[in-house]
């Protein structure tokens, strides 16, 4: 147990350091912060709305993550396989599960850090009015969980290929499906019986409940189970790829 925890920590630490050793981390943080501000203030017209809430800020997160999260996760296994370091990693006393979780947590912590850096939004809205900070908190939790789901899916696509680009494109497509499946403009077009089935796969209804300030176990279960499934599948893929 001790060894499991220690190995996950060691791998997460290394992965996280490697983000900051390359320009990827800084470019990501800058783009993320600039885009969230741009969409909140310019596109959603934060000031004209005259509401003390961050709904105009959170609305855009599932769309922004669509390209930004795959950019963070695409290298995780694709790069290990391309450079051959996977052979070194898996001949160390580390299990595949420890390596997968370690890498996942590194990416998720990084995305959490990006979210934390949006704190001036919270200060601004609190300065200008009296928002419900509980709703803002559940909004952040929802955003963090959506990022985690996208990340887990990107990690899965990354295990399939040596090419980061292939991993990126595949995960964007899958995540786009997860968003669109529950998006009213899409669901309105579908026949009602199909609509309810497709919408079950979507992150949107679960995300929106949290944006309204409600924490439902069902929603949390949805997010956690999608992440668990994608990471488990990553383990299966890595094992079968090694089997040759």
């Amino acid at each position: 147990m001790n060894r499991t925890f220690s190995n996950i920590k060691t791998i997460a630490k290394r992965e996280l350091a490697s983000y900051f050793n390359s320009p990827v981390a800084y470019i990501f943080l800058i783009i993320f912060l600039v885009l969230t501000a741009f969409f909140t203030f310019n596109v959603s017209a934060f000031f004209e709305r005259n509401e003390a809430s961050l709904s105009s800020f959170f609305t855009w997160h599932p769309w922004l993550y669509l390209v930004l999260v795959p950019a963070i996760g695409m290298r995780q296994w694709a790069e290990e396989r391309r450079s051959g370091t996977i052979e070194m990693l898996f001949t160390l006393p580390v299990t595949a599960a420890q390596a997968i979780f370690g890498k996942f947590f590194a990416g998720w912590i990084f995305l959490g850090l990006a979210l934390i850096l949006t704190f001036p939004m919270v200060i601004t809205v609190n300065y200008l009015g009296n928002p419900d900070n509980g709703v803002i908190l559940t909004g952040y939790i929802g955003s963090f969980l959506v990022a985690g789901v996208y990340l887990a899916i990107t990690i899965l696509t990354s295990a399939f290929t040596r090419s980061q680009i292939v991993s990126f494109i595949t995960s964007v497509v899958i995540c786009l499906f997860l968003v669109l499946a529950g998006w009213p403009p899409v669901t309105r077009v579908l026949p009602p019986w199909l609509d309810s089935i497709v919408a079950k796969f979507s992150v949107m209804p679960h995300y929106q409940t949290l944006q309204r300030g409600m924490v439902d176990v069902q929603d949390l279960f949805f997010f956690v189970s999608v992440m668990a499934f994608a990471l488990f599948a990553t383990g299966v893929v890595l094992r079968s790829r090694r089997a040759g």
């Binding site: 791998i11 290394r14 350091a17 490697s18 006393p93 580390v94 090694r242 089997a243």
Partner: protein, 322 residues
Amino acid sequence: MIQVQNLVKWYGPLLAVDDVSFDVQKGEVLGFLGPNGAGKSTTMRMITGFLPASSGTVHVENLDISEHGTQARAQIGYLPENAPAYPEMSVQAFLEFIADIHLLQGKARDKAIERVMEICHLSNIRHQTIDTLSKGYRRRTCLAQSMLADSPNLVLDEPTEGLDPNQKREVRKLIRNMAHDKAIILSTHILEEVQAICDRLIIIDQGKLICNGTPDELCRRSSDAGTVTVGVKTQDSDQIRAKLEAISGVKNVTVLTKDQETATLTLQPSASDETRFQLADAVAEKLSEENLTYNELHTSTGSLETFFQEVTVSETEQENAA
């Protein structure tokens, strides 16, 4: 100690490793020799638990690698082919990562890192990132990684590849020095290297284990083992040749070089057992009977190169056969 039993590996319809068995004891350096694509790296990947075997077993310190993977892998230091290492990390950070994985802490961790840095001469480049390193330094960084935990077993896939002659000599010395308390498997295609550092060697070709023995034993099995070379003072090389051919136990004689005063000839023994190594005595006797003086007389103990050529099928031969 590493024990390999009836190891088989299929890549789809392709048989890469075909029923290979051998073992390496503590205190022994085993050389792994074979043409490119013979299955050396695949075998090493199965020994270190990276690839699952199609059938057969690998035991490391009596632990089955497929059942007790983590524990067994903790007993092996491995240098993979091409010496992979995380390019964005510094040498120091990379070795710290490996030490953490091996659960080394505090002073023991620092000491282990210093030890391998010193052995592999990495101290002066410790803060350089790995992607800026030359090929030789990179390989030594990865070699340092394999030795960091001081595991009782080492598996080294071409440890001297890409090093300059001085570095090669040093790495060989290093491996030799570690051999007394470790079981070491190393692959190479440099034959002198095998003779310099291996206690035993196995040759693998097209996935099959062809032979297993000490370098001397295998040399003696080559066709040029027992060949006698003699330099005789004479002007008539043909006459000498006829005389030497008359010695019993000689298969044929060829004149290698001749000039005004001496002729150098080689004699192939007809026997294939141990008696062929006594041919030189008969030659010396014959020459003194004939009152001929000679300035050179020696028996070849055979060469690994010849043996290797004889037992492995070269790619061009395969193509011709097809």
